[in-house]
């Protein structure tokens, strides 16, 4: 029997809960050369700012045990080019609503970028990233205080019609405080975790591997941390939680849903295996059967 994998994320139905995470899937169309990306629940496109950004100098990738550091620093062509060039390219290969990932260096920038993307039909959700660890004076600095996180959430919500999902940082002392603050400010959902701040040192040069010194840790190494934060956050708020952090298999997706996630984003795994999300979706029914799970709704938050 064909399993119903559908989930409802902030009023929009996804055929399945699997969403490639921002920064690991570009603007989607390049993965469409590998497989039909319409099989995805949706995907979250590359973090977009008002102006074009190159990001940090290289090296901006480092190996870690069961994971990786990146310090890309929000490289993107800027929102105007995204709307004029990237999204029309995506429209040729993707029929579903896409999740727009937005970043900024001021509340005004977040609002402006969200307003522009709010007018685009193909976009279903605005995922507002207040947790990028790789830029200075923006991103993460909004996500580590409940007050500024709520300010961003409130300002964006006032300006747009589409559902707003705040992407939260694990680099905080109490994830539930931030989660509740953005919920109170009107957020329609939260997604977590962004990457954990880390560094590596090259023994040959005795200097940090990354030009930016620090980067964001992702991959299976962070999965237990992510799962715990999703578990805590989803108990603290009533709005949907999108779980992410090291998810690499159908079993990981089920753990995230048991922890309370409505849907699940997959990040680093796409970089190791371009077919990762396709395989996770294909493996999900068998994994559910193996553990006697009939529907995803019946296990959500039951851990």
């Amino acid at each position: 029997m064909v399993k119903d994998l559908s989930v409802n994320l902030c009023g929009i139905t996804l055929d399945n809960p699997v969403i490639p995470a921002s920064g690991t899937f570009g603007y989607g169309y390049e993965f469409a050369k590998f497989y039909d990306i319409n099989m995805l629940g949706t995907f979250s496109f590359k973090g977009t700012t008002l102006s074009e950004r190159f990001g940090n100098d290289t090296p901006r990738i480092a190996e870690c045990a069961l994971g990786m550091l990146n310090s890309v620093g929000l490289q993107n062509p800027g929102v105007y080019k995204v709307i004029a060039e990237e999204l029309p390219e995506l429209k040729k290969v993707f029929r579903k609503k896409v999740m727009a990932n937005v970043s900024g260096f001021s509340i005004e920038e977040y609002v402006k970028v969200c307003e522009l993307l709010d007018k685009v039909d193909e976009i279903g959700w605005l995922e507002v990233n207040i947790s990028c660890p790789n830029v200075h004076g923006g991103g993460l600095s909004f996500g580590t205080s409940a007050i500024s996180a709520a300010q961003v959430a409130g300002a964006v919500k006032k300006a747009v019609k589409k559902p707003v999902i705040l992407k939260l940082s694990p680099n905080v002392s109490d994830i539930t405080e931030i989660a509740k603050a953005v919920e109170d400010a009107g957020a329609d959902g939260i997604s977590l975790i962004n990457t954990l701040v880390g560094m590596r040192i090259d023994l040959k040069t005795r200097k940090p591997v990354l030009n930016n010194i620090t980067g964001g840790l992702s991959g299976p190494a962070v999965f237990p941390v992510a799962l715990n934060m999703v578990y805590k956050a989803s108990k603290a708020v009533k709005i949907p939680v999108v779980g992410m952090g090291g998810v690499s298999s159908a079993e990981d997706v089920l753990e995230m849903i048991l922890a309370g996630a409505t849907a699940v984003e997959v990040g680093a795994a796409n970089l190791i295996n371009p077919f990762a999300c396709k395989e996770i979706i294909e493996n999900l029914p068998a994994a559910m059967d193996k553990y006697g799970i009939k529907t995803l709704d019946e296990i959500r938050g039951k851990a």
Binding site: G23, G26, G67, I272, F275
Partner: protein, 242 residues
Amino acid sequence: MKVITAELNENAPIARNTYKAVFSCDTSGITNAGQFVNVQIDGLYLRRPFSVCDYDGNSLTLIYKVVGKGTEILSRAKKGDKFDMLTGLGNGYDLQNAGDMPLLIGGGVGVPPLYNLAKRLIKQGKSVSVALGFNTEKEVFFVEEFKNLGCRVFVATVDGSAGKKGFVIDALPEKYSYFYACGPTSMLKAVYDKTITDGEFSFEERMGCGFGACMGCSCKTLFGSKRVCKDGPVFKKGEILW
């Protein structure tokens, strides 16, 4: 790009810290000289990129220097070991501009991808010169292989133990129609300054995915930011911004 499983047939040192690995595999993903493969290595999270030295219908040759954990693990791999690879990554060299007397300039582990390029250029009837730079005689490899293809070969070593004493730019022939260079960035910069014709350069960078998704290996060019893995690794002289 293709995802394949490659079986190791041969993995032996050919110079100091330098290994030649030959795999049996589907090579149909590889379409051009200068492309690379991204190899999953047991015990490591990220794949490791290697330039393609040579290939035919069902065999792939990589030459690598042991420089870190990934290459160290690979150097211990045995005949019959299997590797998951993404093949045919990157743009590769543009053979259209070679002219009659192309010059191939390689430094150290920048030498391998020039081999398949030389093979193609010779096949097109070009008069191919190859300038190879190494640190010392013990690290020299592939001089005979290039000669056997019919190339004129010029060698330089930093300590003068083989060929001309100096860097590869000290061993360039006087006349050539176009050049193709691969090697460490400092060498490429020197080649850029010294060469008298147009040409192209193959770059190296730490990569996340190897197929254009993560933006980990971006570089700035005169025509905006480009990804070394997808828009490169080969860039034309006229677009490079040092």
